[in-house]
Structures are given as C-alpha cells and as structure tokens.
C-alpha cells in the first residue's frame, strides 16, 4: 500500500476507486458476521465460487460483516440487480448463480416471503422491515468488506476527514458537532459537543480520545455490528474528534467476547497507518494521531467511564467518584484529559462533518436529532438490527419493523436499555422514542437493546433476572450497590419461589430508591430500574405472586394450584409417568393430582401433550367458606 502524501492524493485515490467499485460488475455481497458465520455463510461462498467458475461467470465476492438481519442469515445481496436473498443454503446458492447471475432473474425460493399467501419480495428496499428504517450509520454495513480500506474509501470514506483537514479549523469542527446536538449513543445521552469542548478547554497539551466498545448489555449488539462491519467509520470519527480537541493519542476499548471486532479494528488501524491516514503527519499535514486497541477481560462494569480508564491502565476495573471527570487533568487515561464516547457516537461524526449540522438536525426530534441503532430481540418475529430516526413510535418499531409478536400472542412489555433500563407496558406503545421520553417513563435509552416480551413472560421473573445480572456484575466497591442489590435479589428470589411476604413490595421500593441514590457509579444507580418499573406498571403481578402464590405467565416454579381438567384429559398417563413424587393418582377412569404430595415441580405440566394439566390461582378463601357456597 502506498502512503498518501497529501489531501489531493486521497481525493485522486477515491475517484479512481469509486469508478471501479461502483461499476456494474456482478458482485455477491455475503454477510460473514458472527451470526451469519454461525449459520454457515462460509459454505455458501464456496458454493457460489465453484458454481460461478463452472459457469464461466466472473463473480466478485464481497465479504461484508453484520448486515443486521441476523435471524435470516446467511444473508446475500447480488449486485447490480440489487436482489436480497435470505437463509441461503449452499444448494440454493448454486441456483442463485444460475438464475440471477447467468439470467438476471430472481431465484424465488431464497427470497424473503412473509408467508405462503404473499408474493416473495426481491428488492431490499421493498422489504417491510426495511421500509421504515433510515440507515445512515449502518449504510455501508452491507456494501463493503471491512478488511479492505479501499472499499471504505470508494464509498466516500474519509471524505469528512479530508474536508476537515482542508477547509475547517479544529474549532469549526467542534462547533459543527455542538450545533448538531449529537447526543452520546452509549445511553445517557450527554451532548458530545459539550464533552469535547470541556476536554479541549482543560489545561495541558496532552489529550487522549477513547472509544467505548465495551458493549456488555445482554441483548445489545449494535456496537458489535459497527466495529465488525465498518471499523473505519469509528476511526474516522475518532480522527475528527482528535483534530477538534487537539489529541494525539487514543485507545479503542473492546470487550473480549467480540474477537472478530478486535481483529477487524486492529486490521483497520494497520491499513490506515500504512496509507498515512493514521499515525504521524496525517495526509502530509501536521496533524498526528496514534490509535491502539485495548481488549477488555470480561467485566461488565468496565463500560463505566472511570472503570474503563482503570482497566486501560491495567488496574482492577473499579469506578471512582467524580470529580475529577475524565475530561479534567488527573481524571482520564494515565492522568491526562480524555474524551470518551461510544463507538456509535464516533460513527455519527463523519456524517455530521460531511453533510453539515443542519442536515443532521433535520432528522429525528428537536432534542434528540439523528438516528439510533437498536437491537430488536426477544419474542418478536423479526429479530434484527435496525436504524431508525429518533421520534419513531415503539409500535412502529415492534409491529411494522419487527413484524409483531411470535405466534401472534399478546404484547405485554418492551424492555429498553438492558439491565439498567426499564420495562415499558402496552399503554406507552405510541410514545415517540427519544432520550427524554424514555427517561420520563422510568426507563432509558441505554445502548439500544429492545427486548420484546409477550404474555408468556413473567415480569417478576424478568426483573429478577436483570437484578441477578447486575448483582453478579457489581464490582463490590460501594456498599449500597454490593449489599443493596444482593438484598433486593434475595427478596425477588423469595417472591418467585412462592415465599413472598406481605410488605415485600414496599421493601423493594425502599431499597431500590436507596441503591439508586447512594451508589457510586452508573451501574448501581440504575440497577434497581427493572424492579422499580415492573412494580410501577405490573404491580398486580407482584401481588399475585405474593398473596395468591400464582404466576400468570406460568414461568415461576412452585406457584399455583396444579389440576387435571377431566373434560380435556384423554388419559394417556404421561403425567403420572413424569411425576417423581407420586402425586398424580390413577383411578379406574381418571387421573388427578394429590395436592398433599404435589411439589409444583412443573413436570406434569410439561409432559401433558394437550394442555389438560392447568396451573390455576388457588382460592384465597378458607375451605369451610368455599364448601358452604
């Protein structure tokens, strides 16, 4: 790779590359992301290559990374026909070569089809889950090979850097980001411009830029997709930030569960250095930035800014009280003022610089401009990565893009913001999604995970699950978080196993408020959110668990009254076989459950093939009064 010596060199290189890259040659863009690789995209590529060779077609294969539609993997797009194929098998791949590449027609069997009554859809822009999306940050995810810097340059990459270095002063770059009101995509939504200015104005010449790629929220994979599929967009964002605030050094902190992201970022940095886009005297100017990747080691709390800094320095990943903030001397990496943003925030920056703050502000809502990437998962038909403008309603996300609930069951709640967020019930489905509205209803944007829950999900169990996650991830430094979450978890476990007592809900609320107020860092301050929001919106479920010993979703074990419905039962005897405690008794012509022996272990409920074993609410009335009726 030849080093670019000036800004004009880059411009010329791009012109040459884009002519070649955007030509009408047949190309197969195959997703090789973590999920699609697990579904077998390597075999699909093999099949495509061998079939194209046999047919004498010159086919270029672009190995893109996560395109977002992980559930329908392996994904495949054929250019220049712009046809989208899903769940491609090696056999189908051969047919795709025959139909599409040799004849230019779509191959029906691998197209997206809602169901047998609907026509298959060939073009990606016509897909129902694609229509409402606005892909800006993810735009190039399904077009380029992240291991090849030329692809990124060909689709307009590093154009923002080129513009900044040739036309804008550092202050102008900062003003543009400030005016765009770009809010931190990591969850809290703090304006990036303010943060940058603060770092820039703090004393000292040595400054650091750090990107936070420690995406630990269960159910979130936005940052993974960006780092895997488009690492150069993160680098470019960091370059612009470093240029604006005058930093010369930087780190990208990535969690170790994402080996592919680490590999791609390292490779991207190497290629950018070779081309002269990173390192000393970038593009012949006197701007210098050294970047390096630091791998995490499996601690959720290291996503917190001060803990992340400690981890980069090689210490235990303990958060510490602020001030000093990261942007102040003594607060950041190795004691130098540091600007820390989420990788998605950095990926937004090149767009703002290239197209301007006014363009960015025209998307989304007044206070939360731009788009946000969400990971839609849980009990929803299409689980995928989406990018939508801020201000879209939850209903549009879940029902139009997500396609509704699996098995057309009833929607119950959506959990946003991972273990620090809250559960939002049905009544807020039409609420526009932005940073402020989510905080208002007790949840938060978080990193952008959205877990959809249906009527078969027990809200008490979900809250217990999140609490057990934060409890085990609590670093143990401050007592409110260490002891408070432990005590809350004990109460939640008691409720879920049917040992709940009168006053437990109030105790949970009180403890929750204490933990929120007194904890040192964001982990503790938000840990009670799932419990508090579920109490707020689903209090009757808690009361049922405590007073009626009944779980309406039938998830919690040891609750409810197990009975066999005689009119449904066809006497197969499977329940009797399943019961380890001999609680299912047999008479001459029926089976019934002896409540004295029943341990409510769930075995008969699972064993029954026709749902004749029912779990019901035990009556709270004394037997004597029931008999009198």
């Amino acid at each position: 790779m030849e080093r670019l010596k000036s800004i004009d060199d880059l411009r010329r290189l791009r012109e040459r590359l884009s002519k070649e890259f955007l030509s009408e040659r047949p190309r197969a863009r195959v997703c090789c992301g973590t999920a699609c690789s697990a579904s077998g995209s390597a075999k699909v590529i093999e099949a495509l290559e061998s079939e194209a060779k046999a047919k004498g077609i010159h086919l270029e294969i672009v190995r893109t990374r996560c395109q977002g539609m992980c559930q329908r993997g392996p994904n495949l797009r054929i250019d220049p026909y712009d046809i989208y194929y899903q769940r491609v098998t090696p056999e189908n791949a051969r047919w795709i070569v025959t139909y599409t590449l040799a004849a230019g027609t779509p191959y029906r069997q691998s197209l997206y089809r809602k169901d047998i009554l609907h026509e298959p859809i060939a073009h990606i822009t016509d897909l129902p889950f694609y229509k409402k999306q606005l892909r800006l940050v993810l735009k190039n995810n399904d077009r380029i090979d992240p291991m090849n810097i030329y692809h990124y340059i060909a689709v307009g990459g590093y154009r923002a850097l080129e513009k900044a270095l040739s036309e804008l002063t550092p202050d102008q770059v900062l003003d543009e980001v400030d005016r765009a009101n770009l809010r931190g995509r990591g969850g809290a939504g703090f304006p990036a411009g303010k943060k940058w200015r603060h770092t820039k104005n703090s004393p000292g010449d040595i400054k650091f830029v750090v990107a936070n790629g420690d995406e630990g929220d269960p159910g979130a994979f936005m940052d993974r997709a960006i780092m895997e599929a488009n690492p150069h967009s993160v680098l470019e964002g960091m370059l612009l930030c470093a240029y604006a605030i005058g930093a010369r050094y930087g780190f990208i902190y990535v969690r170790h569960e994402y080996p592919l992201a680490v590999k791609h970022l390292r490779h991207a940095i190497k290629q950018a250095e070779e081309l002269g886009l990173l390192g000393e005297n970038i593009l012949g100017t006197d701007f210098t930035l050294y970047l390096d990747v630091r791998e995490g080691a499996g601690a959720f709390v290291c996503g917190e800014s001060t803990a992340l800094v400690a981890s980069i320095e090689g210490e235990r990943g303990f958060p510490r009280p602020r001030p000093p903030r990261l942007s102040e001397p003594g607060g950041g990496v190795f004691g130098y003022p540091t600007n820390l943003n989420n990788v998605e925030t950095y990926a937004c920056v090149p767009l703002i610089i290239e197209k301007g703050a006014d363009w960015f502000r025209s998307i989304g809502t007044e206070n939360s401009p731009g788009t946000k990437v969400f990971a839609l998962a849980g009990k929803v038909k299409n689980t995928l990565l989406i990018e939508v403008p801020m201000g879209i309603t939850l209903r549009e996300i879940i029902f139009d893009i997500g396609g509704g609930i699996v098995g057309d069951k009833r929607f119950k709640a959506v959990q946003t913001g991972g273990p620090s967020g809250g559960c939002i019930p049905e009544e807020f489905l039409d609420m526009p999604v932005d940073f402020d509205s989510l905080t208002e209803v007790g949840s938060m944007m978080g990193s952008g995970a959205m877990i959809v829950m249906d009527e078969d999900t027990c809200m008490v169990d979900v809250a217990r699950y999140f609490l057990s996650f934060t409890q085990s991830e609590s670093c143990g430094k401050c007592p409110p978080c260490r002891i408070g979450t432990y005590q809350m978890l004990k109460i939640m476990e008691r409720i879920c196993s049917g040992q709940g007592e009168d006053g437990d809900i109030e105790r949970l609320e009180e403890l929750g408020r204490l933990v929120q107020k007194a904890s040192l860092c964001g982990l503790g301050q938000t840990a009670p959110n799932p419990v508090l929001t579920t109490i707020r919106y689903f209090r009757e479920e808690y009361e049922e668990h405590i007073y009626d010993k009944y779980c309406r979703a039938k998830v919690c074990r040891g609750l409810g009254l197990y009975t066999i419905y005689q009119e449904t039962c066809f006497r197969c005897g499977l329940c009797k076989e399943a019961c380890a405690y001999d609680a299912v008794k047999e008479t001459r012509d029926s089976y019934f459950i002896d409540q004295d022996y029943c341990t409510k272990c769930y075995a008969c409920y699972l064993a029954c093939p026709i749902d004749a074993v029912k779990i019901e609410k035990a009556s709270r009335e004394p037997v004597s009064r029931q008999l009198n009726k």
């Binding site: 973590t34 995928l384 999140f466």
Partner: protein, 165 residues
C-alpha cells in the same frame, strides 16, 4: 507474545507514539491485562509460576497481579477443560429458554456452571451476551457459535464433545 519477550523495547513499541509521554511504570502496568491474556491463551489458565515470572518481568508485585487478574471474569486460576461449553444467558436467550439449555447441560455433564469435569474434558460456563441475539438461545463450544439450540442440537453438542473427549 511470550513472557520472556516483555523487555523495555517491546513495552515501548506497544504504545506507538504515546510511549514518549508515559512513565515506565505506567507502560508496564498498562500491558498487564494484555500479558495475562497471552498467558491464558498459552496455558488455558494462569499458572502460578507464569505469574511469578510475569511479576519479575514487569516489576509489579505478585499481589497486585493477583488483584487485577481476580477482578476479571475471563481469567482462571485453575486448569480448564479441553472443551469449553458456554451457554449464553443474555436477555434474549433467557426469554427464549436458555435456563432449560443450561439445566440440561448441567445434568448431562454432572457439573455446575463455572466448573470443570474431573477428567478435564469439559468446562461449563455462562456468558452475559455474545451478541447473536437473533439466533437465541445460543451456546458456544470452544468459541464456535451454535444458534437456535433446541433438544436435537443439544444432543449433537453433547455427542461431539463426548466423542472428542
């Protein structure tokens, strides 16, 4: 990276331009987690004598190294199994039945999560999220991701592991 390679030049080189502004202590300390990861990659866990050698090489007291290593979940002080089965218990996997998968694996291998079977053939672990929520529930076997795990796939996983031994 080997422990023996950790001399001053190597430490300097791994900071690129930033090595000029940092003290030698800061530089060595900052490499600690990376070094521990390299040791773990080689031995599959952190053996005591390797940590002692590392302590001498980096001029960091052993107690400090232990303090850092014990904080992070990724590091192990006991040998791990030849096969590492990791069940994702993230939210998406949880609502799609990860607890059942975990229960089944515990029963089959007769070990709890975080434990290694006595013959060192298999280690059972859980992870917060591997970022493949669309394929939930997910199990990884030696870092290879297997999605949409149901009874049939679970049977296959158990079979391949007992064959590999």
């Amino acid at each position: 990276m080997k422990i023996e390679d950790l001399n001053d030049e190597f430490v300097d080189a791994s900071y690129k331009g930033a090595s000029a502004i940092l003290t030698p202590e800061q530089k060595r300390r900052g490499l600690l987690i990376h070094a521990l990861q390299a040791i773990q990659e080689e031995y599959n866990y952190l053996p005591e004598d390797a940590l002692r050698r590392l302590s001498e090489k980096l001029h960091i007291p052993l107690v400090d190294i232990y303090s850092t290593a014990s904080f992070y979940k990724q590091f192990y002080f006991k040998p791990r199994g030849r096969n590492v089965v990791c069940v994702c218990v993230g939210t998406a996997c949880h609502v799609r039945g990860a607890p059942k998968v975990l229960e089944r694996l515990k029963e089959t291998f007769q070990i709890n999560e975080g434990e290694t079977s006595p013959d060192l053939s298999v280690t059972l672990e859980t992870v917060g999220c591997v970022g493949c929520c669309s394929l939930a529930p997910v199990v990884t076997v030696n870092n290879e991701i297997i999605g949409n795990v149901g009874p049939v796939k679970l049977e296959e996983i158990v079979k391949t592991i007992s064959q590999r031994g």
